[in-house]
Amino acid sequence: MKRNAIILTLCAATLAAAPVLAGKAITVKGSDTMVILGQRWAEKFMNANSGQVIMVTGGGSGTGIAALINGTTDICQSSRSMKEDEKLKLRDRYQTMGIEIPVAKDGLAVYVHTSNPVKELTVAQLGEIYLGNITNWKQIGGPDATIILYGRENSSGTYGFFKEHVLKNKDFSARVQTLPGTAAVVNAVAKDPNGIGYGGAAYAKGVRDLGMKKAADSPAVLPVAATVKDGSYPLSRPLFFYLRKSPSGDTKKFVDWVLSAEGQKLAVEVGYFPLN
């Protein structure tokens, strides 16, 4: 009986001490657009720095920002910039407005089914489609069929970026089917001849990107390295790391590596675009 008690106490003590004994891991949470990139960065960095542990999870930029504010992550990946009220919430809890570090560039691609004859749109038309004002493909040069809208959950930075820059902060049409990840959007559009979706340019497989025009008379631009870098693609956006305080120690090593030539090269490999 006594022996069991001793064993139990030892186990309890070990369990309680374990979180303190375990090495300090860097937590990275947030953007689903960036989650693959983040994982690849983490993998490569961990290979080069044994002993360092980096955990990467997705959930959407909103999830990452909330985790940053809740204190449950070290680095937040975000495909949109933090909003004012989010920065204020962060300040309320941690007395900081957060540190914003752009780490890569992305083109927000618009996908349609490979059989869709429509090849290009203006940003304004795209907005009208997702606001629910343009509902049929024939209104923009396609077949006579209802446009099926696919989008992201509101936790997504891509959702936030789209809402701000394409919809000019107006509400999405209620008919947008919300999917939890870019890949799900791609998957849905790839199966739906009348579908349209949006997401990071790196994910477009089995679907076709639409050329985007800034205005009715501008040339249509596809999201490729050159156009995203020089900004001629209308929907290019920076991808961010957000931290609560200036990176130091292990975190600084990781962030510096991400911004280095090696890290940026990996970003290109994954399908994104370097900062410069």
Binding site: G60, A66, I148, N154, G160, D171, A174
Partner: protein
Amino acid sequence: MSRSLTAPDSPTSVRARQRVRELFIEWALRACAFSAVAGLVLIVVFVFKEAWPILSDPEIQKEASLAGFFATPLWQPVGEVPKYGLVPLLTGTVKVVLIAMLFAVPLSVLAAVYSSEFAPPRVREVLKPAIEMLAGIPSVVMGFFALMVLASWLQSVTHSPMRLNALTAGIALGLGIIPTIFTVAEDALRAVPKSFREASLGLGASAWQTAWHVSLPAASAGVGAGVLLGLGRAVGETMIVLMASGNAAITSADPFDSVRTLSASIAAELAEVVVGSAHYSTLFFLGALLFTVTFLINVAAGAFVERLRKRLAGA
């Protein structure tokens, strides 16, 4: 029941020690039983507590309030002006649950009648394991199947413009609750005393007449309980609708439209809320609403079971 009947000439100290130990053990066990009550109470307290700011905190109410829930037709909690319209979520939930029940109840009850009244033992040996296997399929797998296979097949049959819609989610949900309804209904039917059936058959009724006019009515309370339990499960189910319903907050009566249910909204959005924000409280409010509805359904189901027990015991 007396605690210890030790021989009268045992040392009192041993008896006293034993009595103290027995008392201690009894209280430990009572605490275990209490844990069930405590668990339920804690769920109510903590879910409702996090939802309470919707009704009490003016700061939160500026963004999300009870009136606001019904003032706007849109559910767009993230944006310049967050909109927390519950109507699309409520209609979405009702639509999916309705489709699920219309699909599952006739199938389950008919199959239960077949199993208990007509089926030869060999058939029952196939049916029962099949139902057990269906019951053993986790809802995430059911959602996966709906997303990958069922949605495409349904779309090819119905030519619905939206692949992930209320019908897909509803049928998958119905599949998920069939075991619940079937098991309870079949148990109730088999619990009907043999004498009822034999009397009916003896009077010249056919097997199906017996089933329809005697067994089923006698087991009605049990069948009703099964249906209610299935309903409760359908209302609360999350993974299937999260994966298969399209999650578009559309308010319409069209079964081929995507829907967004209460449970799926919570699951999809809870990860991204800042603790204490209006969005956070709203999601807990949805949870409290779900809890209340399923709780009432379960209490009703319990009452039905009580009635069944009384009827079969007394009749």
